[in-house]
Amino acid sequence: MSRSLMVAGALLSLMWGSQPVLAQESGDAERGATLYQQRCGACHSLDANRVGPKHRGVYGRQPASIPDFHYSTALRKLKEPWGDETLDRWLTNPTAMAPGTAMGIRVPQAQDRADIIAYLRSPAAR
């Protein structure tokens, strides 16, 4: 992790401080990519099923639709495709959205969720 990245991060967080609502709506995909590595990277990759399913193209996809991943019955019951709202609910509290799911990680900060979702929506993860 380079120093310039850290400086950029610090600058960005200053900017969010002044415009929280705007940043939250759009989300910062670049910061989201770093957060994705740090918060999701123990279990997920874009292109390989690991503890959790692979994520490339997950934005807009039906839940539990990677054929060679063994999902819980809880996740297979979800009907709405993964989008801004469903992903935000999921990352806020996965076990509330799909009781019995195998994923329990919560991302409590709205800004962090928005940035991670922006990353999953971005060309880098499609």
Binding site: G41, C43, S45, A48, N49, H70, A102, M103, Q109
Partner: protein, 193 residues
Amino acid sequence: MKALLLRAVPRRALLSDSGKVLSLAGLTALVGAGVAGPAFGQAAPGQDVQLLNAAIALEHEGIAAYTIAAGSGLLKPEVVKIGVTFRGHHERHRDELVKAVKALGGQPVAAKSDKEYATQLNVAKLKNQADVLRLALGLERGAANAYLGLIPSLGTNYHQIAGRMAGDEAFHVAVLGGALGEPIPTQGLMFGG
């Protein structure tokens, strides 16, 4: 088979959260859970079993990553030694989690083969010691964050063990980050959140 499994289910697992003895249906579910396959899809009843099994899967991958790294020929002998020690920490985590899942009447998720882990971690792209350390650092940082992020979803019985494991992972992050010359984070509360 059923009788055997029943005997293997500890008394604690026969008590529900409120301390009441499980109904016959609950008992049947427990026995059913015992014979379920390793996939999450067929895992035991109970949210904690699911979450603890995901943590076991994470530890399995970490153990395999250190085994693969140790045998890669890319590491200096003294670095191999540290990696093997860290692997031992993850084995301890796995064992604690397996115990917890069994105590809940669940079936602990099995490990995949090292070959499968090598593919899913894309180790073919690792060319030198620094590459290996960066992979390990990423996994350890992810694991520390995962345990912390998991705590609010876990039953309170498992909060302390999850916190202790996050502590071990954070220790690993510090050592690996130091070896790679990463700057010390300037802000506190560097994991989770």
